[in-house]
């Protein structure tokens, strides 16, 4: 039944796309590990790290799209779910440092020793186990999303109000995580990681494995999203997006639908954050900045909201542009980013995928008209 559920939303294009993601996930690490550095097809480690980051961002974008594109909930706080997942993973990685820290304390991470902590705060317990951290990566963002969504959707907070609330949420979390007495590293966040599951995070092999894991997570996210969207639930979901009150008058409890996708989406964002942190090597409160969340929304808008492939394309393209521009013309980047927001909303409301679809259907209708 689960396989049928997972398969129900997959059309041919989507299957090809999933295969493409997995192919990238296997071939790039192999090209990094096996091929000699002199080989023109060799993929340098920094490229692997960069693309790995894009894959995490793509998963975040997919999560944003699930609520925004398919359910009309514009969340400006998904960066918070991403960061929470990242912090959960970061806490595990901190505990793995053990006595190799600067202060050599076997239990307390360096920043706690520095801040005169006598013992581990209660919420740090359990994070020395990977399985515990892995559960928390999904659970913490989900619980927050559930709490927020439960209240917001029941009170019928919609549209821009919900957007502003989610933005305020991530802003409040940012302020909170900047505080030293949160016990999460304050300003500096969590960094200087050593091991993950016993392997050095710096090693090429570990990086390759993390890259592969990211591609698998993205592929899985895509399959699950497709299954949800393609089900009768998905039909109801887009109906909620288009005419919420009409759905209520048909007898649907709209809150349940919204809450489910919101929580699912937050969990996906949390997983993306958890895969992001060991590849980048740091997580700090800056990840909660409202600008980050809204940038993720832009990736979706560029790629095409309400499509499954769009957000992935958008995330990769925009971030590639960001990497390139901030390197080549740093002062231009923010102009470009700002302009992109304006251009996409004004001229390309359906994004790249929508544009492609439009062109395709236009040529089809031309063909259809031709014989007549």
């Amino acid at each position: 039944m689960i396989t049928r559920f997972l398969w129900q939303g997959m059309d041919r294009n989507l299957r090809l796309f999933v295969l493409l993601i997995l192919a990238v996930g296997i071939s790039l690490p192999l090209a990094n590990l096996i091929l000699a550095a002199t080989n023109p097809a060799h993929v340098p480690s920094w490229v692997l790290q960069l693309v790995g980051k894009y894959l995490c961002y793509a998963l975040l974008a997919l999560a944003v799209d699930l609520v925004w594109g398919f359910c009309g909930i514009l969340s400006l706080g998904h960066g918070a779910f991403f960061a929470l997942g990242g912090y959960c993973m970061g806490m595990y990685l901190m505990r793995q440092i053990g006595s190799r820290g600067v202060y050599g304390n076997p239990i307390l991470p360096d920043f706690m020793v520095f801040l005169n902590y006598k013992e581990l705060p209660w919420f740090w317990h359990g994070f020395n186990h990977f399985w515990f951290a892995a559960i928390m990566v999904v659970l913490v963002p989900s619980v927050l999303a559930f709490a927020l969504g439960w209240f917001a959707f029941r009170s019928r907070v919609t549209g821009v109000y919900l957007s502003i609330i989610t933005q305020a949420m991530t802003f409040a979390l940012m302020l909170a995580f900047f505080r030293n007495d949160m016990g999460l590293g304050g300003n500096n966040g969590l960094t200087d990681f050593k091991d993950i599951l016993g392997y050095s995070v710096q090693a090429d092999g570990t990086r390759a494995a993390l890259f592969f894991a990211s591609s698998v997570a993205l592929a899985l996210g895509l399959i699950i999203s497709a299954a949800v969207v393609g089900s009768r639930f998905g039909k109801a979901l887009t109906a909620v997006r288009d005419a919420e009150s009409r759905m209520r008058f048909l007898g649907y409890r709209v809150e349940g639908f919204k809450l489910f996708v919101f929580v699912l989406s937050a969990a996906m964002a949390g997983v993306a954050g958890a895969l992001y942190v060991p590849q980048i090597g740091i997580i700090n409160p800056g990840e909660f900045a409202p600008g980050n969340s809204i940038e993720a929304v832009l990736w979706v808008a560029v790629g095409g909201r309400g499509t499954l492939i769009g957000p992935i394309i958008g995330a990769v393209l925009v971030n590639f542009g960001k990497t390139w521009l901030t390197g080549a013309l740093p002062e231009v980047w923010l102009f470009a980013l700002g302009a992109l927001f304006i251009v996409v909303t004004l001229l390309l409301p359906k994004g790249i995928v929508g544009l492609w679809g439009q062109m395709k259907s236009r040529s089809q209708s031309r063909k259809a008209r031709a014989p007549a």
Binding site: L74, L148, F151, A152, R154, S155, R156, V157, G159, V160, Y161, S163, I164, I165, Q167, A168, M169, F171, A172, L175, A176, F178, R179, P290, I294, V297, L298, A301, E331, L334, F335, L337, G338, A339, L340, F341, I342, V344, T345, L346, P349
Partner: protein
Amino acid sequence: MQSLRPFSVLLSVVASLALAGAALAADLATLVGNLTSGGLSEREAAITALAASGEERAAPILEALAAGQLYVRTSDKVAVIGKADGNRLALVDAISGSPAGNAVEADLERVRVNNRLRGTIEAAVGSLTLMSPNAKVRLSAAESLFKRRDPAALPALDQALAAEKDPRIKRAMTEARAAVVLATADAPAAQKLAAIGVLRDRADRDSLGVLNAAASAASDAEVKAAALAAAGSIEQTLAAWQMAQNVWYGISLGSVLLLAAIGLAITFGTMGVINMAHGEMVMLGAYTTFVVQEVIRTSAPHLFDVSLAIALPLAFVVSGAIGILIERTIIRFLYGRPLDTLLATWGLSLVLQQAVRSIFGSSNREVGAPSWMSGAFQLGQLNITYGRLWIVVFSLVVFAALILILRKTPLGLYMRAVTQNRPMASAVGIRTPRVDALTFGLGSGIAGLAGVALSQIDNVSPNLGQGYIIDSFMVVVFGGVGNLFGTLIGALTLGVVNKFLEPYAGAVLGKILVLVFIIMFIQRRPRGLFALKGRSVE
């Protein structure tokens, strides 16, 4: 003994200061001569005489003597006051008070005092300053005595009290006397009770300290009870003042929020347009102020005090014009798509920030305060700075002006008409696109005005606006969208709540709590404090 002498000398000084000036200076030299020569007993007599002279220089000389800073220069036998300045001593002529070069300690001979003499000197200095012809000196002497609570000064204090005419100083002296009495262990209980009464009426933090000390030291049960009761009453008064101070800080913060939010209340509240670049309109207003002040600094420095008055209309025009431009080129294509408007204006805010960063640099820019906005005054125990006071006044004026515009002008009428029923408004001949543009311009222009005010209390940097956008939305949503009075109440409430939370939770946690509170509040009352009801809301 000589208790009446300083008094009579003082009178003569006040009566014939000009006439006696020269004679007294000569007198001073003799007295100082007596002080620096002779043995310890002659020295004591000289101190008393010097104190009795009522001479203005007497106090610094005696203070230097007590501190061991009075010297005689070996080379010319001139009395000097020496203060450590690196390895050497910076010298001041004791009699004239003018600088007298410097010297190493080996070239000087210290005028020595012992503990008994120190006591004499202290009493002498206290009485000297208490009897000074200068009212300010007397007041500060009384105030310092209040803090020192030196029982030895009691006779001098009584004397000065009897002579004092100025009611303000007299009260200060009475309070000082009360403090001294309470600090004197063997003072009669009746006097102590009276003193407690005086201090209870003074009712500030210092008298609270005196009373607490007196209560713990008191042997007499009645005195102890009275002191405790008075301390309790003062604590209540202080708490009330503290609360008033917090309310003031809250109003001050609220007025800033109001300024930032009020323009938003127009664009969001009446047009339903989410303008994430609203903060940047504020920022542009602040930079306009900066530019105006730069021009004034270089070409017309005498105009500096009116720089804000010049900046206000300019900021309104600059931000307003850019607002109209934005409305015409971007926002009008997005009506009915609030979420897209939100994204587009966010992009716009990035562009504006980066543009300002390119032109003015990313560091903070200096915007000065005109003289009439600097300084502070004391209202009861409230400390009120002029800058904050003017911002509160200014925000209320802007608010009132806006209400007038909306209620009394044709633009206001059109705006309300378009808000309520767009097709009907356009059917009766109102040019709705123009009204939209003007409304948006008005909202943005007001943001520019806010920027002028905020340039006085915040760092003028490209990020200025970002810090306000979320708060402003919170205010508008909290107060109730489309309701300007709601915005006013919302801003003041949030300001006050924020400031009341700060002492308990700290600034950051307080802010977080407020955000959480609003998030919960919006969920309970999605339409805000003062919601519009009716079918048009949907």
